[in-house]
Symmetry: none
Subunit: 304 residues, 2 copies
DNA sequence: GTCACACTTGAAAGGTATTTTCGCGTTTCG
DNA sequence: CGAAACGCGAAAATACCTTTCAAGTGTGAC
């Protein structure tokens, strides 16, 4: 009973705050005109809230239809609702004027600036991710993982580290979890899965073939599949029962996308882990305690 | 657009927040039906924002005309604008209702709270780390790494992932970096190091023997040694030329220290990486670009 | 190179929501 | 008690939003 419903285009909740983040996340899947609209909205929520469909269409040099389409893509039933959300957002940002260390990291930035900007960006990424995370999907993923007979995790490149992190933690609370970075081994293992097992694919782009393939196999075998991706509309979602969306921060030459996506992925993975730990508290608690113990012994006694 | 004069009744600014107060002020000058509408609006701004004129008219047992009249009296050009203001107000009071993120994550926290608390904690950790990071030490570490003939990184457990992350990134910009999670291999490799090489140890506790040992060897061999630790006064610092301090967030049963220390370590590692990328920009830039390319080809073509 | 196809897009038709008009009923005051 | 003013809602008029549809545009196959 794993593979039905799916909602196809995600039941995006009409996210409250992180609209700019959502725009960034969905931007790649938008057409040119829609991007213009989305950009205008993200740039000046307050201003746009004051405009009618027609007004916004004119402002962006597009048509009403396009505006409505964009609103839909952002998760609202129509423009009216987007407008309401915008009004709320405008009120928000009015109260808490952002200080904005907005500029990109440059080659000649002093090291202190690099630290500040990087920390700020990562904080932003965290906020965006938290705001954009669908708790229903997360809850479902937690439920599936908690009772899974076995959990396989797929991720390559930077995402493989996130996968290993998750596997490490799940193992620590007594679950059977494996992270696979090797696509071939991943597929080989995916074949073993069946209903009651869980497969998790981690890919920022949502279209990493090496990760999609094992997930597809797991999906076909009847396992419950979870995708952690920055592109919820990407190919990977096709084979995912539950999609957890990570946020996409602006990237620069010095700061590749992999860096902020990792932050976002780790937050999602941590949430998943804690959810599972909660659900399996009975067995997780002693396991956690035991692993504390084990670690403590590997430290030299003197801690001063 | 039929905008004639209309001002007539007061130049009330479309007050942002104090709507309830305005209702009270104006209440005496309202007719009975209008009072009912005003009351409903003041009672539940959020709820009313979700209603259409007709809906609100029905709810209050009045007519659309009366609703519009009330909106006018409150200082808005029409109901549409009152509704927008209401939405803004709703967003406001929603934000004020912070779910006490300050408390620890509990076993029975709903999943949404888990996400919020976790994100908040991590943001805190980032801020702390950035504030506590010694930029002089960081600068020195960057300088050493930029010109290193070879970089060895030691980390076990959760820290091993951070080490691998750093190694991955340094490799990508053309440096020779290796992460060692196996203590024996680490020592074996450390023996090879000499002046002009760099060794980096990552340990939250500052007293992880498996990591200290290879660092000591590297130190003795004359390599420049760097420690990334949460305990700058720990044993590891003994053999470190430069110490980069990570922050320690409170931990709880469900949220092991490894989790927040990882966030902190990653920030430090990212700063180190970007610093190096800046310094070696000439050679790093093409390397970075090249790796983008390589990655792009592994994705399915459609990215639009 | 050319054809076929799928996708984007805006114009205009089609619906809702909001605003205005209008007249009935009620109150108020002479 | 009667006249004038006011409150009120039904319904018409309008503005706004949504949907449909056909033309334009780029893309891949052959």
């Amino acid at each position: 009973m794993t593979n039905q419903v799916k909602e196809i285009f995600s039941g995006d909740a009409p996210a409250p705050a992180a609209l700019a983040a959502k725009v960034r996340t969905l931007s790649p899947s938008m057409t040119r005109s829609m991007q213009r609209v989305a950009e205008a909205v993200a740039d000046d929520p307050a201003g746009c809230a004051a405009l009618t469909v027609t007004g916004l269409a004119e402002l962006t040099g597009t048509s009403e239809a396009t505006v409505v389409r964009t609103a839909r893509l952002l998760g609202y039933p129509g423009y009216r609702d987007l407008r309401l959300a915008l009004a709320g957002l405008a009120a928000h940002q009015e109260s808490g004027r952002a200080p904005a260390i907005t500029t990109d990291i440059a080659v000649d930035d002093p090291i202190a600036d690099v630290v500040a900007k990087l920390a700020y960006d990562e904080q932003q990424t965290l906020a965006d991710t938290a705001a954009g995370l669908d708790t229903v999907q997360l809850g479902a993923a937690v439920a599936a993982a908690s009772t899974a007979r076995r959990i396989d995790i797929y991720g390559v490149g930077a995402s493989s580290l996130v996968g290993m992190d998750l596997a490490q933690k799940l193992l620590r609370i007594g679950l059977i979890a494996h992270a696979h970075a090797d696509p071939h081994l991943a597929v080989t293992n995916a074949v073993q899965l069946r209903s009651g097992d869980v497969a998790i694919a981690i890919t920022h782009s949502g279209s990493t073939g090496d990760v999609i393939e094992p997930l597809r196999v797991a999906f076909d075998r009847g396992a419950t599949t979870i995708a952690i991706t920055g592109r919820p509309d990407g190919p990977v979602s096709q084979y995912a029962d539950h999609v957890l969306t990570t946020s996409t921060a602006r990237e620069s030459e010095l700061r590749p996308a992999a860096m902020s996506s990792r932050t976002s992925q780790l937050l999602v993975v941590d949430c998943l882990f804690i959810g599972v730990a909660q659900r399996t508290y009975e067995s997780a608690a002693p396991a956690l305690a035991a692993s504390y113990e084990a670690l403590a012994h590997r430290h030299s006694p003197r801690t001063r």
